[in-house]
């Protein structure tokens, strides 16, 4: 662990490892791998731990050139991210709201106008803040396994970052020892899982683990809701100013004035009859890959009489501008 960072809940991770986790984490809330606390702020460099580790590594194994390189790379990566204001691939700033398009009833990302299916925009990777958790878990799994979401991350535009860029220790003393980021990670979580009091040890009763997990889940859910309420107003205002494209949907939703309007989305609307009316070009285009290019995988839903296609229902809550937080 060359660049240790600490979460607000007090757990330490290697910068690379935690970044990977946060980027791949498609749940509505970013969480600590260790205790599942929601992470509202980016983990900060733990300079003390970094110093201690550098001492340990030096004592441990003098001058392994390869580890020296790995270490230099890790540190350079972190520095680069600090300088460019893209710590943690910007996941802490890259958020948006799902806005239901009045024309077609489809929920879209307020950042890029892409159709939103899960908690994270498949196009710009922005995290939806007004996602509800009422849908079927199986549905979410399909989103989680779709690694295209993760890979299509485009670094997305962002303004007003408030990341505090702690400067990293620049002393390039040789690190060495048979440690690389993988082992670091294992050690890190072994230490935490095995010894931390915040969580039952792996040998503890399995039922305890489950109970614990459930309890945390409940707590987390309630916190999710609070979070949604508090952040939305300012966000919507910012976005509307910036983004002409969004004007129409925001305006119309503001006129609604009621605080929350649950909108039911039914993906399978555009199936069956409609498809039969499409001309041959449509078929020719859509045969090859199974879906029209540029289309979200799910939006291509056709009703196949034979599969008894499961009708998907997703619920979004569109949270509209109101005065309660001002």
């Amino acid at each position: 662990m060359y660049v240790p960072v600490m979460t607000t809940c007090g757990h330490n991770y290697c910068y690379d490892c935690i970044s990977n986790w946060l980027v791949s984490n498609n749940a509505s809330e970013l969480t600590c791998p260790q205790c599942r606390s929601p992470l509202e702020h980016p983990p900060a460099l733990n300079a003390t731990l970094q110093h201690l580790l550098s001492v340990v590594i030096e004592i441990g194994a003098g001058s392994d050139p390869q580890l020296g390189r790995t270490r230099a790379q890790s540190i350079a990566q972190y520095k680069n991210d600090v300088e460019n204001n893209i710590l943690y691939k910007d996941v802490f700033n890259n958020t948006a709201v799902a806005v239901v398009d009045d024309d077609d009833g489809v929920a879209r990302c307020s950042n890029c106008h892409w159709e939103v299916e899960g908690d994270v925009c498949p196009h710009c990777n922005a995290r939806m803040r007004n996602r509800t958790r009422e849908y079927d878990e199986d549905e979410e799994e399909e989103i989680l396994t779709d690694d295209s979401i993760q890979r299509s991350f485009s670094g997305a535009r962002n303004s007003s970052t408030t990341v505090r860029a702690d400067s990293i220790s620049s002393s390039e003393s040789e690190y060495g020892e048979d440690l690389d980021s993988d082992t670091d990670y294992v050690r890190d979580f072994n230490r935490n899982v095995g010894e931390s009091r915040s969580r039952p040890a792996p040998f503890g009763s399995a039922r305890d683990i489950l109970n614990r997990i459930n309890a945390q889940d409940r707590r987390q859910n309630s916190e999710d809701e609070d979070e949604n309420d508090s952040d939305l107003n300012s966000f919507i205002v910012d976005e509307a100013e910036e983004d002409e494209l969004e004007e129409s949907s925001y305006t119309s939703s503001r006129e609604g004035k009621s605080a929350r309007v649950p909108v039911r989305l039914d993906d399978s609307d555009n199936s069956g009859d409609e498809d039969k009316e499409r001309d041959s070009d449509f078929w020719e285009h859509n045969d090859e890959d199974g879906f029209a290019s540029g289309d979200n995988l799910d939006s291509d839903g056709g009703a196949d009489e034979d599969t008894g296609r499961k009708i998907k229902k997703r619920r979004f809550q569109v949270i509209e501008d109101s005065d309660e937080e001002d």
Binding site: E142, T145, S268, S271, D275, S280, W283, N286, D287, D289, G290, F291, L297, D298, D300, G301, G302, A303, D304, E305, D306, T307, R309, K310, K312
Partner: protein
């Protein structure tokens, strides 16, 4: 890329099929939902437009044995169809006459097979072949 074992690969395909995430021109699912080994599957192919198959729905049976997906599935038409790669007595798709089975790759899925069969139907040399009456079976 690591090698996804047969059963998890088939579960992925099943999920895709069940959720209708695939194209609308074909579908597939387990023949017996109790079949923990997931060997026998049913599929349908919607005949391509501008061909003698237009508006027809063809049923096929697929068999993914132990060798799948390293080996291709066996596939057999249940609905009668006149295609060069389909054995006219049994309905079986003959692998040496069907490129997808002949040059099978591990990344291919049952969906690949169904879609490629559909392309076969739309192939210029095949699309106007006289077809047996709709609804007849092998």
């Amino acid at each position: 890329m690591s090698k996804v074992p047969r059963s998890f690969r088939l579960l992925e395909e099943l999920e895709k099929g069940e959720k209708g995430l695939g194209p609308e021109s074909c579908s597939y699912g387990l023949a017996d939902s109790d079949d923990i080994a997931m060997v026998h599957w049913n599929g349908t192919i919607l005949g391509p437009p501008h061909s003698n198959h237009e508006n027809r729905i063809y049923s096929v049976a697929l068999e993914c044995d132990e060798g799948y997906p390293d080996q291709p599935p066996k596939i057999k038409f249940l609905s009668k169809i006149n295609l060069p790669c389909v054995n006219q007595t049994t309905g079986e798709v003959e692998s040496d006459r069907f490129e997808t089975l002949k040059n099978w790759k591990r990344s291919y899925t049952m969906e690949t097979v169904l879609l490629d069969l559909r392309k076969e139907m739309a192939f210029p040399a095949n699309k106007k072949l006289p077809q047996p009456p709709e609804g007849s079976t092998f």
